[in-house]
């Protein structure tokens, strides 16, 4: 099968390359672009370790063809750092609240939390749990992940208030 030219925005920068249309977005990100934040956990659309943000939606990049992403705006965990390269608020709260152990699920969790807090800046604990139901963690028992996301919500809201 012939390769196609794909071009999309990744973490604010235009990227392009040649790929077979059947290439999964996760493989294109990791192998062609060497962006290895998104992980492959299950490869069967269940675990959410491969979650990226695509056109304002959290998607499992193991279940998207790169052809479908042509022209899209994609953000991975690498794109969620501050302008100076330091950890972004959600990332910092995961560190502070020990929201990870092995860290395998973390990029997917943080990318998902980012979209969740964009849509619902003041979630209840229950809403956080429902909102991350597509991300599995084999280590933490979720408690500290939920804590980290709740703390990130508070910080982001405080920052917003301070800016107003």
């Amino acid at each position: 099968m012939s390769k196609m030219h794909v071009k999309f925005t990744l973490n604010g920068q235009e990227v392009e390359g040649l790929a077979e249309p059947r290439t999964l977005l996760i493989h294109f990100l990791r192998e062609n672009l060497r962006v290895t934040g998104p992980h492959i956990g299950c490869d069967t659309s269940h675990c959410g370790a491969c979650t990226v943000d695509m056109d304002g939606r959290s998607v499992k990049s193991c279940t998207v063809f790169v052809a479908q992403a042509n022209g899209a705006d994609v953000t991975t965990v690498e794109g969620l750092v501050n302008a100076d390269g330091s950890l972004g608020v959600i990332q910092e709260m995961f560190r502070e609240h020990h929201g990870l152990q092995c860290g395998y699920c973390t990029p997917g969790m943080i990318t998902r939390a980012h979209r969740l807090l964009q849509e619902n800046p003041t979630p209840t604990e229950e809403e956080v749990r429902f909102g991350i139901a597509g991300n599995l963690c084999r280590c933490t028992g979720y408690q500290n992940i939920v804590k980290a996301i709740m703390a990130a919500a508070d910080q982001l809201n405080a920052q917003k208030e301070a800016a107003e």
Partner: protein, 278 residues
């Protein structure tokens, strides 16, 4: 898991999409959200020579409420159904059902059209659409036609849609205000298909009952609706159970599924009845 290779097409409008299906015959397949099709392609259970991506066909998107009818474009995602305030108010059972499908990531991608066109008995929307007596519009080289959800499903993955037809929209007559409703689903975990699920609406002297994943198609049980409308809950549960034909699979043996179905059906009927006003 890497699917077999294919040619990718992204037509800008419906006519071009239909013409691609006509040109490539059974080599061609449309993709909407891809969250049923891509897993099948990765398992190499679906073989697609030409993949026709519908994402740019803007006329197939969106929710239009016109008097007592809602028309939903096939490409409308489950996430968009959940967050549409007016739809949640006028047809709350749709939101209740959509929230029980898979997980947030899947709901951002999965479309109503893909869910009802797929023909997988595990999909939740087909049963709900039969409960609500929805109408599907399909369009092909010979023009558009309408098919009732209750006449659409033939057996697992076989539907009344022709190979060269695209399902463009779903229309539903909105139930009168105060109509009781419930979509009740038993699943093993978040992100799983139903072990048993049941959609019920009741009010104004009528009722409608349909079930998911309890046969190789969704099941609309007319007798169960008649019994429920007359207030005979036990009779309605019995009629619904008489209409199903569950098979043994990894969700359990037939006796277990019948047991779960009985519980789920009764809960759905009870909750819908409790919610009915006037």
């Amino acid at each position: 898991m890497i699917p077999a290779g294919f040619e990718y097409h992204r037509p800008a409008d419906l006519a071009s999409a239909i013409s691609l299906l006509t040109t490539h015959g059974d080599e061609a397949r449309v993709i909407a959200g891809g969250h049923s099709l891509i897993p099948m392609m990765k398992l190499r259970m679906a073989d697609v020579g030409h993949l026709v991506d519908l994402q740019s066909i803007e006329t197939m998107r969106g929710v239009r409420i016109d008097g007592d009818t809602v028309t939903i474009g096939a490409l409308t995602t489950q996430h968009e159904l959940i967050t549409h305030a007016e739809l949640a108010r006028r047809l709350p059972i749709l939101r209740e059902c959509a929230l029980l499908i898979a997980d947030p990531q899947v709901r951002y991608c999965g479309t109503l059209g893909g869910n009802v066109a797929n023909g997988d008995p595990g999909n939740d929307m087909p049963g709900l659409m039969q409960c609500l007596d929805a109408t599907y519009t399909v369009e092909g080289p010979d023009g558009a036609r309408q098919i009732k959800a209750r006449d659409f499903y033939e057996s697992a993955y076989f539907t009344a849609r022709g190979d060269e037809e695209i399902l463009t929209a779903v229309s539903i007559s909105l139930p009168a205000p105060g109509t009781g409703y419930a979509y009740e689903k038993q699943k093993r975990k978040i992100g799983d298909y139903a072990t048993a699920a049941c959609a019920v609406i009741v009010g104004g002297g009528t009722a409608s009952v349909a079930m998911t994943n309890l046969a190789d198609t969704p099941i609309w049980a007319e007798d169960a609706g008649t019994a429920l409308a007359s207030g005979d809950l036990d009779g309605a549960v019995a009629a619904a159970l008489a209409a199903i034909d569950p098979q043994e699979d990894m969700r359990g043996p037939i006796a277990f599924k019948r047991h779960v179905a009985g519980v789920v059906i009764r809960r759905a009927m009870q909750r819908a009845t409790d919610r009915a006003k006037g």
